[in-house]
């Protein structure tokens, strides 16, 4: 155990070493290590965020898809309903049209029948008068028996 100037020399060396470390070794390396740690943490956070985003996007896609499917079903149902309705309407229209045509035809036929009857009646009357005229030419005067003829015509 012998103390001498070596003590001072060692202290100076020590001071220089510490100063140099403080200046050129510690700050750059610790800063770099901190930055690296931060970068890694950021990267992990970004990965986590990406994963979350992906999940959200997948969920949204599934939702969209469901909605679209539902919508298409709705549209299809609507279309079917509409088609049925159209068919029903057409059927109704056709039925009415048919009924109208039938009614028209019937009316026309009735009218035709009426007219034919009228014509027939006149012809029969004429014919009866002509027959009676021929029979009665000798004994009946047309003008004298006009009332009688008219009553016969009315009965026809």
């Amino acid at each position: 155990m012998e103390f001498n100037a070596t003590l001072l020399g060692q202290a100076i060396t020590f001071a220089i070493l510490v100063w140099f470390t403080m200046k050129f070794v510690w700050p750059p390396l610790t800063n770099m290590m901190d930055e690296r740690a931060k970068r890694i943490a950021d990267g992990l956070a970004a990965a986590e965020r990406g994963k979350q985003d992906l999940l959200a996007a997948e969920k949204r896609v599934a939702d969209e898809l469901n909605k679209a499917r539902q919508q298409s079903t709705e549209i299809m149902l609507g279309a079917e309903k509409r088609a049925n309705q159209i068919v029903e309407e057409a059927r109704e229209t056709a039925r009415q049209e048919g009924a109208r045509l039938v009614a028209d035809a019937k009316a026309e036929i009735d009218q035709e029948v009426l007219r034919a009857k009228e014509t027939l009646r006149e012809q029969v009357a004429t014919l009866a008068v002509a027959g009676a005229e021929k029979i009665l030419r000798k004994e009946i005067d047309a003008t004298k028996h006009a009332d009688l003829l008219a009553s016969i015509k009315a009965e026809l």
Partner: protein, 271 residues
């Protein structure tokens, strides 16, 4: 043989003194000084070199090694020293690496460097080999260990003053550890407290440096004693001791660093 062995041990335990005899305060242990300086420069060269070319994304192996050391030191500093300081981290790193390197010199064969020195002294300077002295373990020199521990003590005082102010530090020196509520009691207790504080302050560097010195000196001495054994038997004791010593040199470097951090954190914390 007995006197031979004594001579051998004595020779190994004699410093290379700048004065011819071990003389006076103003002489220098050239071996301690130059070897520790060289080791310090090796430490700085490696660490500063890595720091210069450090890569954020692709650290090389050396950089990773340096980062592991720095991370270890940084973790200890952060755990123990809670105040903010630009000095404590670099100080702890320097202490750990420098002390480790100085201790590491113990693992070289005890005769290797002395014999080289003797050969050089004899061949180039015509010195008598027996008068060439070289001790290669700087931390087995009290000057080296006390230089560090006294520097640490100065830092303890400086940290205390910086954290508490001159008045606050003086007050602490006079009022802790014994508190008195009455002013007269405080005045009576002041010298007692001061003595306690001084003992505490002085005990720190002494325990720091003597612990390191004692470990290294005894380690060195045991290596010297092992070297006195017959050549075939040396490894039987030498190998286990050297392996055990790897632990000791690392542990002592760590303890010195750790205690420095603890002392400095005590200095900035209020009692």
């Amino acid at each position: 043989m007995a006197s031979n062995a004594t001579d051998y041990i004595k020779h190994h335990l004699t410093f290379w003194n700048s004065a011819h005899e071990t003389g006076g305060f103003w002489s220098l242990h050239i071996d301690t000084f130059s070897i520790s300086l060289l080791l310090g420069f090796i430490f700085l060269a490696v660490f500063a070199g890595v720091a210069r070319g450090a890569s954020l994304d692709k650290p090389g192996r050396l950089q990773l090694f340096v980062e592991i050391v720095i991370d270890m030191v940084n973790t200890q500093v952060k755990e123990v020293f809670h105040a903010k300081s630009k000095v404590v981290g670099p100080l702890a790193l320097t202490i750990f690496c420098w002390v480790f390197l100085m201790n590491f010199m113990d693992l070289f064969p005890v005769d290797l460097f002395p014999m080289i020195a003797q050969w050089i002294g004899f061949t180039f300077f015509g010195m008598e080999p027996h008068h060439v002295f070289l001790r290669v373990v700087p931390s087995a020199d009290v000057n080296a260990t006390f230089a560090m521990s006294l520097s640490v003590m100065i830092l303890i005082i400086a940290f205390s003053i910086k954290a508490k102010g001159v008045g606050g530090y003086t007050k602490e020196l006079l009022t802790a550890p014994f508190h008195a509520s009455h002013p007269i009691g405080a005045i009576i207790l002041a010298p007692v407290n001061f003595v306690f504080q001084m003992v505490e302050l002085v005990a720190k560097p002494i325990s720091l440096s003597l612990r390191l010195f004692g470990n290294m000196y005894s380690g060195e001495l045991i290596f010297i004693l092992i070297a006195l054994l017959p050549i075939g038997a040396q490894w039987v004791l030498g190998a286990p001791w050297a392996i055990f010593h790897i632990l000791i040199i690392t542990l002592q470097a760590f303890v010195f660093m750790m205690l420095t951090i603890v002392y400095l954190s005590l200095a900035v914390e209020a009692h």
